[in-house]
């Protein structure tokens, strides 16, 4: 019974919600193999997920490959308000970052590879319990971005590959909060800002393997500005104030930051691989969250909330051991600095410096078909007093994410 219920739950949320629990609202669940090895491995191409992780590295995969993966994320945020010593919890839906990769070559060992990557490297759905103390800052935020990236890669020398892709990001935003005005029965007002967003960017990578044991990759995914040209603002307020909160359009934009990754892979023998990735994430782009309403009133003016995020580094590392040819065991972990400065932590992204651990397993049923699974766990604690809302307390986030992908190559 329980299995059926949970299965239904998964289906319901499949391709629906992502729960942002990497730095900011970045989601690093791109490849199950990387998810087993501490989210690192951009210099160790494994399957078609390399199209996204480092397009240049795909040229050394001599195959056509289809990969489909999903990583249900179970995230729980608890906020303990420091002055009232009361705990409030999130009841966010299960997130489902997913990825689909298709990589082709026209003939075996071809120099040119091409493919398509569809995945969700950014997103967040967070919902707090009813009547929580921060309800006038946020009750629910859903950010969704699906990256569609056609990609080409070329082997320019025996040991060097380059690749690039054009990224179309389609997304949606739905932000809700309560408004501190009460009607005659004491019910608070509510605001919902919703809209579809679109943005464009690119993804470049270069890959170099100077020796059989060592490979190095450098990739750059550009910043993408997600624009909401036709947002819809809906306000539920007492009748007497309806004119102050007119429903109508709004515009806004949200930057998805650039990600630069320098990766190393060392595999002294075929049964053993160590990977290290260093990420630089350009969160500095997230300076302000602005909403421009079509109709302004004395109660509804355009908002400009400072975010002042900082660009950050993240260090990720993992190992893979293959006790036999068909089985791979993986373990890894990492540390990411938090882009959110003190005074700017919001219920949207209750983020802090994080340490996390991962486990993974890969199994090839035959030459063509393999399954990879991973498990991710992190716990983040962050105390802050937000300068805009004066919301003051400690956020504790526990997230765990078991992932699964199926790969078929020919």
């Amino acid at each position: 019974m329980k299995r059926i219920y949970l299965g239904a739950l998964f289906l319901l949320h499949f391709v629906c919600n992502n729960y942002g629990f990497s730095q900011g609202f970045q989601v690093n669940f791109l490849s199950q193999r990387q998810q087993g090895m501490g989210l690192a491995g951009s210099a160790a191409p494994y399957d078609a997920s390399a199209l996204f992780c480092n397009p240049g590295s795909t040229v050394f995969l001599d195959e056509n490959n289809l990969v489909v993966g999903v990583t249900p994320v179970f995230g729980n945020v608890m906020f303990v308000d420091s002055s009232t010593q009361t705990a409030y919890r999130s009841n966010s839906p299960v997130g489902t970052p997913f990825s689909m990769y298709a990589m082709f070559q026209l003939k075996p060992a071809a120099k040119l590879k091409f493919g398509l990557s569809i995945n969700t490297p950014f997103g967040s759905t967070i919902q707090y319990e009813d009547n929580w103390i921060g309800r006038f800052a946020l009750t629910r935020l859903e950010l969704k971005a699906i990256f569609i990236q056609p990609t080409f890669a070329y082997r320019i020398a025996d040991h060097i590959g380059i690749g690039g892709g054009f990224v179309i990001s389609k997304g949606k935003v739905n932000l809700q909060k309560d408004i501190p005005v009460q009607d005659s029965s004491g019910t608070y007002g509510h605001a919902e800002l919703a809209g579809k967003a679109i943005g464009f960017g690119y993804n470049l990578g270069i890959y170099f393997n100077p020796s059989k044991q060592l490979s190095v990759g450098l990739s750059y995914r550009s910043k993408i500005n997600m624009n909401l040209p036709n947002g819809e603002a809906t306000f539920t307020v007492p009748n007497a104030l309806a004119a102050n909160f007119p429903n109508g359009g709004f515009t806004g934009s949200l930057p998805l930051p650039s990600v630069t990754t320098l990766g190393f892979a060392y595999h002294p023998c075929s049964a053993f691989t160590v990977v290290l990735d260093i990420n630089r994430v350009g969160w500095k782009a997230y300076d302000t969250l602005a909403f421009d309403y079509a109709t302004n009133t004395s109660s509804l003016s355009d908002t400009k909330s400072p975010r002042l995020y900082k660009s950050i580094f993240a260090f990720r590392s993992g190992v893979e051991i293959k006790p036999c040819k068909s089985l791979a065991l993986r373990i890894g972990g990492g540390y990411g600095f938090c882009p959110v400065p003190n005074g700017y932590v919001t219920p949207e992204t209750p983020d802090g410096n994080r340490i996390y651990g991962t486990l993974g397993i890969g199994y090839s049923f035959c030459e063509k078909f393999c399954i990879d699974a991973s498990f991710y766990y992190t716990k983040i604690t962050r105390s802050d007093t937000n300068l805009e809302t004066n919301l003051s307390g400690t956020y504790t986030t526990i997230a765990l994410a078991p992932g699964l992908s199926i790969s078929y190559k020919w």
Partner: protein, 460 residues
């Protein structure tokens, strides 16, 4: 290797299928609450209308349940305080003021110009009249809230305010007094508030928030009547000795207390909502006023002008324009101002205005009262709640958990519709000032109230 593999598979299995989210929830590590050096076995809140829950110009049940006294005790209950016993009114919403009018709500009102807009209006045609003549005293459940609307510091041991035949009789006290409207033969005199508080045992801890009513009635009369309580004089006459007498009583029984200072009441919306220079004139009206007042040396311009007021000290005619800093009270007849040239052709009467000189006197008196309160808190080791600082912060405006609070009338979120008493949310914020003081002085850890749990103004 095989063993670890199966362990790993188990984890995946548990998380994928047998998942109960509880295992992944962060644990609550809340700071432990502690009463510190105080004993809350018997708590009593002593004060005026604010402590009673008087708001929207009436005492009504919902207000009482959300009074400063009740909210403070609700928090104190987390560290051992007992059940709250309020002298509750019968009806949740009607209530009554001393003129037997019901509470104010925000409704629609059409003014003399025919414009309909939001305005405080009476909730019912008549207040909850019988409530003031019905005793709610119970010898079983001693009141934990001795907040009494209109109660002054100098009334603390007065037998007059409990005497229905006395001019100083306070019906809000009468209905809760143990005398139950009957002259107590055995003691020979009507019992005082203090006697009621100490009846059947002293409290172990109390909050004292008195003094506003020693000056407010004077300010509300435009400094024309209801003189302020003098500083000096015997208990019952002078502010200082009345407080000393109470503190001595408490101290003799080792009762601990938190005592609040008095805010600058002249910064409350009742006094600050109508601007002194709100006389907006067009060319025609300005010319006509210039004709009238030109001979007196006053001139008017197109646009905003000062209202005209009566001031006996102002020249032979006793009329002058207001100057910046002077205040018009919310009791002023607004329709007359809008439609009948009240405040321009006809100067505002003294009772609707506080002049700079009057304000100076009032503010000096508050400073003097506060000096006395601070000295006493110091002398008796009582915690001191600097409510004056809180009210000043409210005047500047601040953001509380994403909600803007200020002392603006109606929209500020903290004052009730009478422009003097706080609403439930304001009371919660005020209670937090007292909690902060208690925690500091008595080394206790009492959590603050969540003010957003308490309501603000309701809009139609």
């Amino acid at each position: 290797m095989v063993k670890r593999n199966s362990f790993f598979k188990q984890i995946v299995f548990v998380c994928l299928f047998g998942f109960t989210l509880t295992s992944c929830k962060p644990k609550e590590n809340l700071l432990p609450n502690s009463p510190g050096e105080i004993n809350l076995q018997q708590f009593v809140a002593i004060g005026d209308g604010q402590t009673a829950g008087y708001m929207d110009d009436a005492l009504y049940l919902y207000g009482q349940q959300n009074s400063f006294g009740s909210i403070l005790q609700t928090q104190l209950q987390l560290v051992g305080a007992g059940e709250i016993y309020n002298p509750l009114m019968g009806n949740a919403n009607i209530g009554t003021n001393s003129s037997l009018l019901s509470k104010l709500i925000l409704g629609y009102k059409t003014d003399c110009l025919g414009a309909t807009g939001l305005s405080p209006v009476r909730f019912a045609q008549q207040g909850e009249v019988g409530a003031l003549t019905t005793s709610v005293y119970s010898s079983q459940n001693k009141f934990t809230n001795f907040g009494i609307p209109g109660f002054r510091m100098i009334d603390i041991s007065s037998s007059q305010i409990g005497n229905p035949n006395d001019q100083k009789y306070n019906p809000y006290f009468g209905r809760m007094s143990k005398d139950q409207f009957t002259w107590p033969v055995w003691s020979g005199d009507w019992s005082s508030v203090q006697e009621n508080i100490f009846d059947g045992g002293y409290p172990t801890f109390c909050s004292i928030y008195l003094g506003i009513e020693d000056v407010l009635p004077y300010a509300r009369s435009g400094a024309t009547q209801n003189p302020m309580s003098p500083l000096a004089g015997f208990p019952g006459i002078g502010f200082e000795e009345s407080l000393t007498q109470l503190c001595e009583q408490l101290n003799s029984q080792n009762v601990k207390a938190v005592v609040g200072t008095i805010p600058d009441i002249t910064k409350m919306p009742y006094f600050t909502t109508i601007p002194y220079n709100g006389l907006n004139l067009d060319a025609e009206k300005a010319a006509s006023l210039n004709q009238i007042y030109g001979p007196l040396g006053f001139s008017f311009i197109v646009g905003p002008n000062s209202f005209m007021i009566e001031d006996p000290a102002a020249g032979a005619f006793g009329v002058r324009p207001m100057v910046e800093g002077e205040l018009i009270l919310l009791s002023v007849p607004l329709d007359s101002m809008k439609c009948h040239q009240y405040g321009s052709v006809y100067p505002l009467r003294d009772e609707f205005v506080l002049t700079l000189a009057e304000l100076q006197v009032i503010r000096n008196q508050i400073l003097a009262y506060n000096q006395v309160i601070r000295q006493h808190s110091n002398l008796y080791g009582f915690a001191l709640a600097e409510t004056a600082d809180f009210y000043a912060k409210l005047n500047d405006g601040f953001v509380y958990n994403g909600v803007s609070m200020s002392s603006k009338f109606v929209s500020g979120g903290a004052y009730s519709l009478d422009g003097i008493h706080l609403n439930p949310r304001g009371n919660a914020l005020l209670a937090n000032v007292f909690i902060s003081a208690i925690n500091k002085t008595y080394k206790s850890s009492i959590p603050f109230a969540n003010a957003l749990f308490y309501s603000s103004t309701y809009f139609p």
